[in-house]
Structures are given as structure tokens and as C-alpha cells.
């Protein structure tokens, strides 16, 4: 631990001792990386951090190209926190946050942001929920007041819960039920995570979405929404001091609350591969797909997740990747193929592979060819040129990300809510650069079929 981070940690502890006992009790929610100081403190090339007295963490990313700011408010709550039997409530609740408070009733939240020239939306994952606005910089006080207001003053009524539940059921039909590939992913994920809530879809099972009512929504709000469970990220044409003052005048007025700890889910060991074949009338093109449970960035040993990331890029990132080259271009068995690693989770990460057969090729033949490529990556380290190209692409993505306030705010907000630090984000390019050919080979060797679900999606008669 560096000196500066130790100092930061001490400062935050003092605040916690003075006023935020909740943090100490809720082990998980206080699983804050290095708690930041009260005054804005530079924690990276262009990032500044501080905390409010009530425990809310704040991160500022100045960008002065346009007179615009992006505010993102992240909460350490997501679909993993859906109570048993009511999957989908975290996402449903995120919709309800746009349904009005006493002082900003009905749809005035979005109306007000729009009439002030702003864009807004929100999103929910298994691990987090985030709300954002992009708006002219002189409207930052306004959107901070609005967010602070709905953080504590939301009004839930039967009249608003009912129609919104129907909206979410339509959203599920659109995103999942109308789309055989989405259905396949949902089934595979349900099979991959034996009991962990990552196996439940974020949007929820339709039968369980129907069970959501005002009482369960209110309970969810009371349990998870408090300033000490939030991380504010502001990117754009502002200074850290401006943000600190505005944040203190808005969010800073909200009291911290004693929150129950987030429930932790065990991940029982998998003993064998799960295989499934899904046959659907609305699938017109067969697909081979495999999903492995692997360590995430928050679980991995140093360098391990970066090696998996690099391996994913080498194996299946784009048209120069091994799977594309071998299956699509050389053997001409597939029309498309790819792979990727997603490790941005609090719990397990995922490594996924897919291939689409050319007409006349069976999924069995395709799978065999995929497995031969996988075997070759276990037996030999990657070619130097291929490794360099994969790393170049990953590292350049960080430079490209700097072009967008939203992408930057996303990267930091996501990292902090899943328990990583600003340093983890800032040092990521260097850690990718350090990945060796041997690291990649070991990442390939670490993929175990016992930790995987393999699926064939087939066009067919029954629905």
C-alpha cells in the first residue's frame, strides 16, 4: 500500500467513526477500495476523488472540450439483490425511479432534464444500478438536486407500479422472448451458475416480474437506496472543487442510513459440463455457443484476469483472431466466430465462445474444430505478432475511451461498484502490456469444460 493511499484510508476512517456507523456494519457495502479523502485529491492522470460526510463517494473526471457534463450515480445494488422469487425487481425499481417524488411528481424528472437540454437514462446489471444525465454544465446543480431528491423522496403508488410492470413485461418480450439468441443466453447462464443469482436474468423471469407490487418495491428502496450506498461520477467541463461544493449542497444534506449487508452468494463447485440443445422455430441460423465460469477481475490473482482478457482478444476478437482465421477463413466451416472475456463482476467472470456454421456444416463438426483451436492454444504459446496485435487493440481501447465522457464515467463507476479501485482502472493498460505469451497459454489451460455450458441452437419445428 502506498503512502498516499494509507493517508486516504485514515481520513475516511475518521469520518466513518464520526457519523457513518452503517458502513462499519455492512461489510459488503463498505468494501470500498481505498476510501477517498474529504477534499478532492488527484488519484490518477485526470481523476479526483473525495467522500461526503454521509459516506457517498465522489469521482471527478475533468474534460473541457464542450460546455457539457455527464453525471452518473451508481448504486451497489443490482439483480443479485432481487429477493428469491421476485427476480427483476432491481431493474423494475430502476424504472420506478422515473415515476415521481412529492416535489418532482409524475414524469417531471425526465421532463425537467429534457426541457433543460439534457439526455438521461439508467441501467441495471447483476451487480449495480446506475442513473445518468448529460447536460449543459450550468445545469449540473439542477440534475444533482433532482438525483438527490429521488434518492430519498420517491413515491411509489399502485397506480404507477401497475403500468410500469406491464412496460417491463413488454421490454422482456422485446429483448428476450422475441429473440432466440437472447433466450439461449438466458438458458445457458441459468445452467452455468448453479445457485448463484448471476443465473437469474437481470430483467427477471416473466412469472416473477408479475409478482412485483408496490410493497416489494418499497421494501427494495428502503433496503438499498441511501447515500452511503452510492458512488457519484461526474465527467466534463467542471473542476473537482465545483463538484465538491455542489455535491455537499445536495447529496451532502442526505443522512446516511444503516443498511443491511448485501447478501453474499456461494458458488457451489461444478462437477461436469452442462450440454443443451435448443430447437426453435424462430431460429433460422444454427449457432454453437459455450460459456465458461472463470475468475473475474475482483477474484483473480494479479495478472490472471488480464491474461484471460488478452486470450479472449487473441482467440476471438475480430477478423484476425484465431477462431475467425481458422474456422471462417481456413477451414471454411463457419461464417462467423468469436470469443471474449468479461471479468467486470463482483463474483465470477465469464468466458464465451460462439461460432455460426456455414450451410451444410453440422454443429458437431464445428464444435470439434473449435476444440482443436482451443487445444492448440493450450499446447503452444501464441505467435508474437498475434499477441502484440491483441494487446495493441486492448490498450488502444483505453485511448479511444478518453474521447467520450460517458465511456470514461462508465469505466470508473463500474470498477468502483464492483470493488476495484481507480488504480486498477488506470494501471490496466500497463498490466495488459505485461501479459506474456506464457501467461496467455496458462489462461488457455485454465479453461475447464467442467466449468462450462455448451449449447446448440437449432432451427426447427417446435417453438
Amino acid at each position: 500500500m502506498t503512502g498516499s493511499r494509507l493517508a486516504a484510508f485514515t481520513a475516511a476512517c475518521l469520518i466513518a467513526a464520526a457519523s457513518v456507523t452503517a458502513l462499519a456494519q455492512s461489510g459488503d457495502r463498505s468494501k470500498l477500495s481505498a476510501p477517498p479523502p474529504v477534499n478532492p485529491r488527484q488519484t490518477g492522470n485526470n481523476t479526483f476523488q473525495f467522500a461526503l460526510q454521509n459516506g457517498m463517494q465522489v469521482l471527478v473526471i475533468p474534460d473541457h472540450r464542450a460546455p457539457v457534463v455527464t453525471q452518473m450515480l451508481w448504486f451497489r445494488v443490482g439483480a443479485v439483490d432481487d429477493p428469491p422469487g421476485i427476480s427483476g425487481i432491481a431493474h423494475f425499481f430502476e424504472h420506478m425511479m422515473f415515476r415521481g417524488t412529492k416535489s418532482v411528481p409524475g414524469d417531471q424528472f425526465s421532463q425537467t432534464v429534457s426541457k433543460n437540454g439534457g439526455e438521461l437514462n439508467a441501467f441495471t446489471s447483476h451487480d449495480y444500478t446506475a442513473y445518468y444525465e448529460q447536460i449543459a454544465k450550468d445545469r449540473l446543480p439542477l440534475v444533482m438536486r433532482l438525483e438527490a431528491d429521488r434518492l430519498v423522496n420517491l413515491i411509489l403508488t399502485d397506480a404507477s407500479v401497475g403500468p410500469e410492470r406491464d412496460v417491463v413485461l413488454e421490454e422482456r418480450r422485446m429483448r428476450v422472448e422475441n429473440d432466440p439468441q437472447s433466450l439461449m443466453s438466458e438458458q445457458m447462464r441459468a445452467a452455468l451458475h448453479l445457485t448463484h443469482p448471476y443465473g437469474r436474468p437481470v430483467i427477471g423471469w416473466a412469472e416473477e416480474i408479475r409478482r412485483i407490487d408496490r410493497v416489494s418495491a418499497q421494501r427494495f428502496y428502503n433496503r438499498h437506496y441511501a447515500p452511503n450506498n452510492a458512488i457519484l461520477v461526474v465527467a466534463g467541463d467542471v473542476t473537482p472543487d465545483e463538484v465538491r461544493k455542489l455535491a455537499q449542497d445536495t447529496y451532502g444534506k442526505l443522512p446516511a442510513r444503516n443498511l443491511e449487508p448485501r447478501s453474499e452468494s456461494a458458488e457451489p463447485p461444478r462437477m461436469a459440463e452442462t450440454r443443451m440443445t435448443i430447437t426453435r422455430r424462430d431460429a433460422r441460423v444454427p449457432i454453437f455457443s459455450r460459456l465458461y465460469r472463470v475468475p473475474s477481475y475482483s477474484q483473480a490473482r494479479p495478472g490472471q484476469a488480464q491474461a484471460l482478457e488478452t486470450y479472449g482478444q487473441l482467440l476471438g476478437g475480430g477478423q484476425t483472431s484465431m477462431l475467425y482465421r481458422v474456422l471462417v477463413e481456413q477451414k471454411k466451416l463457419a461464417s462467423d466466430a468469436g470469443a471474449s472475456y468479461d471479468g467486470n463482476n463482483r463474483d465470477a467472470g465469464e468466458f464465451s465462445i460462439y461460432a455460426v456454421p456455414r450451410p451444410g456444416v453440422t454443429l458437431q463438426a464445428l464444435e470439434k474444430a473449435v476444440d482443436e483451436v482451443l487445444l492448440s492454444t493450450r499446447n503452444a504459446p501464441p505467435q508474437a505478432a498475434d499477441l502484440t496485435r491483441a494487446k495493441t487493440g486492448l490498450i488502444a481501447s483505453v485511448t479511444y475511451r478518453r474521447d467520450s465522457q460517458m465511456s470514461l464515467a462508465m469505466a470508473y463507476g463500474q470498477a468502483l461498484t464492483i470493488g476495484l479501485t481507480v488504480d486498477d482502472v488506470n494501471e490496466w493498460p500497463a498490466r495488459i502490456r505485461a501479459v506474456t505469451a506464457d501467461n496467455v497459454r496458462r489462461a488457455a489451460q485454465s479453461l475447464s469444460r467442467n466449468q462450462a455450458v455448451t449449447c446448440y441452437l437449432l432451427p426447427g419445428g417446435s417453438k
Binding site: 472540450r65 414524469d107 439526455e119 437514462n121 441495471t124 439461449m184 487493440g393 485511448t399
Partner: protein, 484 residues
């Protein structure tokens, strides 16, 4: 407390400064009937290019629909002395973003590069335009990808409805054809077709180039001049004019899906018509404004009938369309279309309230600078203006044009635009409302154009088991990423 503060803000006039980048959009003269706009910014070491040519799908020859789009998909598949594999490597070794897509009127090429790789990116572009290889292997592979994508489209309600709508709405004009083509037309496309199309259409006459990012004007001028100097400058062919638009009525394309999609539309307003901007404001109020629109309020907020309903006003070079879409469960689709119709009818009769007009103006003007908050956003927005044949001064003028719109303007234009009796509606799905599904034959022309143009390289299948992405929140209507 909060209430008062909000009220104060709502009434405050937003005096929106012109975006800093927009303030000095520079013109670069390459000769050759090329238009080049440049926004210089050295904050991030990248450069974004947005390049348009009048080489879109409307130029597809009869029986070869999908040719422009196919050619765009082949743009990174080998050129000059580089095979397909070598071309892909040349791009990915330097992490250059290189993509091309065919819209109705234009081929649009987007290139994003780290500043040090800009010369290589432009060298590859020059080769791709002048010496495409269209090799048999790559051609067969891309053809399979496109055909598989078309096969899956046949069961996707938004795709089916969008294609059938274009076919019904644009009649005999090339706009009625699908940009991606049909399985039959794409199957028939040969290397000779692609070569002829590229030779005729991939020229600098009429080219529009928008650039934003970390390069100086002299450097960029030299780079672009070198890139485009040898590219032929022959005149591109003209598009035919269009006749009557629309085929009023409800047309059903039966599909066994849980959630049908309805696509609906009316003749729009051309870009050079003085009513275009009032029309855009009217559309924002009716259905363009995401959560703020009348349609969202009536269909979604009040009745919970859909996750998303939206409309857009789009002007192509030869026709304009006010088009919208909505998706809902099978037993509610007819009711939903009726609510859309009624909402439209009321708006045409009564026009907007003063408050709606004020709110629309503050949104449309206040959100404009956000289009210029990144190099990629700036290049893309400037490219949009260029394709609409606007002049370079439009960027600075645009907000005042919106400010000048009066309630009488919007009333007049709403009457002109929103006549529910003329509405063309296509439902893809099977309405289950007790009534027998009406026998509407498939449109005579092969199904056409989905509402959103496809990506250049048709993703046969999006990676199916990629990690579940965060489920986005309540706002679904596109909030004009490209401002008018």
C-alpha cells in the same frame, strides 16, 4: 425547496453558447467537388473521419438490391497488394477503426485512428476505394454472412415490418428496395457487379469529408489531398425522382412471435423546405422526444402498452418520411395502433401547447452541444449535416432557426404532417384480438429496408452468449444522436 428551484430553472431561458468546437469548424478546399469540414482539438490523441459519397443503396441496379451494401462490406476485405487477411491485419495491428455502411443515399465510411496512424489509415482507405480486390474467397464468405443475416431477419418483427413498410411506402422508387437486399438478389451478386459498382460510384465527385481531432489544418490538408488526388473524379449518376408516397391502410405480415411490431408513416418534409425545422420540432413533441413525447405519455406511461414508441422525421435526397414504430403484445397491437392514430389526430387538430413548444426548443437547442463532446461525435454530426447539403455556417446558425419557430408554425406543420387517414401501417406479427387476421398479401416487391440501417459488416449473429449487458433503463426512444 427543490420545487421552487426547479421552477426557476424551467422558466429560465437557456442561452446556449455555440459549442466550442462548432465555433470554428474550418473548411478545407481540395478541389474535385469535395467538401471537407474540420474541427481541430488536441485533447485526446485520436482523429475521427466521417466520409460520405453518393453511393448508397438507392443506386443498386434492378435485381441487384443490396449491391451497395455488399460492396461496403467488402471494403476491408482486401485491396491493392493486400489480401483480405493482410488488410485486416493492417487495420488491427494499429487498432484502426474502419467501417463502411450503405445508407439509402450515401456510402458512409467511419474511420477512427490514433493520431500517429492517420497516414496509414488514409493509405488503406485510398487502396480500398481505388483497388478493391473482391476475391472469390472473401466474396463467398461475406455473401454467406449477409444471407444468414437476412434469413434471421425474416423472423424479427422490426425487420420484417420495416422492410414491408418501405416497400409499401416508396412504391416503385429504389428507396422501396432493401438496403441489404434479399436472399435472391444477394445470391446473384458477382465480383463483376461489385467491381462495376465501385468503379462507377466510389469517386471523389460529391464526396463529403468531416474530420475531428488531433491534427493541424496544414497536416490534414496535405493528408487528404494525397489520399484523394488519384481517386477518379467522374460524375456520379443521378437518382430518379419519386412519385406518390404511401399506401394508406393496415398491412399485416403474419409472424409467430409473442410481440408484434407496428411500423407506421406519412409523407414528410424535404430538407430544403422552410417547414423542415418546424416539422422537426413538431415531431419532437409528438414522438421524437423520448420520455417527453405525447406518444410515450399516451401509449407507455398512461397505458403500459409498450416499452418504446417513437417517431422520426427523415429527409432523403428524393423523399421525406415521418416514420414511427411501436411493439406490444399480440392482443394489444390493434389497440396500440389506435392510440397512436388518436394521439396523432389530436395533435394535428390542436397543435402544441406553448409549454410543449418552449420545452421542445430548450431541449433541441440545449442538447446540441452534446453532439460535439467527442471527436467521434463531432465528425459524425458534421457528416450528417454534410449529407443533408447544409453549408458550413449552419452549425452556428442552427439553434437560432429552432428558436425562431412559432406556435403557428408548428400548428401549420402538424396539420400538414399528421393526417391519420393517410397513415401507412405495417404490423409484423399476428394480432390476436378475436378478429381473423386480415388477408393482406405480401407486398409485390421483395420486403425492404428496416428502420435502422444495418452495420456494414452484417453481423450474422451477434455473439450469442456474451455476458449479459446491463439492461438499459426506461428511456428507449432514440434521443436524436444526430441532430437536425
Amino acid at each position: 425547496m427543490i420545487h421552487r428551484a426547479l421552477a426557476a430553472c424551467a422558466f429560465a431561458l437557456i442561452v446556449m453558447s455555440v459549442p466550442s468546437q462548432a465555433a470554428d469548424i474550418q473548411n478545407i478546399d481540395l478541389g474535385k467537388n469535395a467538401t471537407v469540414w474540420f474541427a481541430e482539438d488536441h485533447t485526446v490523441p485520436i482523429i475521427a473521419f466521417n466520409i460520405s459519397m453518393p453511393a448508397g443503396s438507392a443506386y443498386d441496379p434492378a435485381g441487384k438490391s443490396g449491391l451497395a451494401s455488399f460492396a461496403a462490406s467488402m471494403m476491408d476485405e482486401g485491396a491493392g497488394d493486400l489480401s483480405s487477411k493482410a488488410f485486416h491485419e493492417a487495420i488491427e495491428n494499429r487498432a484502426i477503426g474502419f467501417s463502411a455502411r450503405a445508407e439509402r443515399d450515401h456510402l458512409v465510411i467511419s474511420i477512427t485512428t490514433l493520431k500517429e496512424n492517420a497516414p496509414e489509415a488514409m493509405r488503406l482507405l485510398q487502396m480500398a476505394l481505388m483497388k478493391p480486390r473482391f476475391e472469390a474467397d472473401a466474396l463467398a464468405r461475406v455473401k454467406t454472412q449477409i444471407i444468414q443475416s437476412l434469413q434471421q431477419d425474416q423472423v424479427e418483427p422490426p425487420r420484417v415490418a420495416g422492410r414491408a413498410f418501405a416497400s409499401a411506402f416508396f412504391g416503385n422508387h429504389p428507396y422501396a428496395q432493401s438496403s441489404i437486399g434479399t436472399i435472391k438478389s444477394v445470391s446473384s451478386i458477382t465480383a463483376a457487379d461489385l467491381r462495376a459498382f465501385a468503379r462507377r460510384h466510389w469517386v471523389t465527385n460529391g464526396i463529403k469529408v468531416a474530420v475531428a481531432g488531433d491534427i493541424t489544418k496544414p497536416e490534414l490538408t496535405k493528408l487528404l489531398a494525397d489520399t484523394f488526388r488519384p481517386v477518379p473524379n467522374t460524375a456520379p449518376p443521378a437518382l430518379p425522382n419519386i412519385g406518390r408516397l404511401g399506401k394508406p391502410g393496415v398491412h399485416v405480415m403474419p409472424l409467430p412471435v409473442p410481440q408484434p411490431t407496428a411500423v407506421f408513416g406519412l409523407p414528410g418534409i424535404m430538407r430544403d423546405d422552410p417547414d423542415f425545422i418546424p416539422g422537426y420540432v413538431a415531431n419532437y413533441i409528438l414522438g421524437g422526444g423520448g420520455f417527453s413525447s405525447r406518444l410515450t405519455n399516451e401509449v407507455r406511461v398512461k397505458r403500459g402498452l409498450t416499452y418504446g414508441v417513437s417517431t422520426s422525421l427523415t429527409a432523403y435526397s428524393k423523399a421525406s418520411v415521418m416514420m414511427g414504430s411501436v411493439a406490444t403484445r399480440a392482443n394489444a397491437i390493434r389497440q396500440t395502433v389506435q392510440v397512436v392514430r388518436d394521439t396523432m389526430s389530436t395533435f394535428a387538430k390542436e397543435g402544441p401547447t406553448q409549454q410543449e413548444l418552449n420545452d421542445a426548443k430548450t431541449y433541441l437547442t440545449g442538447s446540441f452541444p452534446m453532439a460535439f463532446a467527442s471527436n467521434r461525435g463531432t465528425a459524425s454530426q458534421l457528416g450528417t449535416f454534410q449529407r443533408q447539403n447544409l453549408d458550413i455556417g449552419y452549425v452556428a446558425r442552427r439553434n437560432s432557426l429552432i428558436q425562431a419557430v412559432t406556435i403557428a408554425d408548428v400548428q401549420r406543420v402538424a396539420k400538414r404532417l399528421y393526417d391519420p387517414a393517410r397513415l401507412t401501417v405495417v404490423i409484423a406479427g399476428t394480432p390476436s384480438d378475436g378478429r381473423p387476421a386480415p388477408q393482406v398479401p405480401r407486398p409485390p416487391v421483395p420486403p425492404s429496408e428496416a428502420p435502422k440501417p444495418p452495420a456494414s459488416v452484417p453481423a450474422t449473429a451477434k455473439p450469442p452468449a456474451t455476458p449479459e449487458k446491463p439492461v438499459p433503463g426506461p428511456v428507449t426512444a432514440p434521443q436524436d444522436t444526430q441532430k437536425p
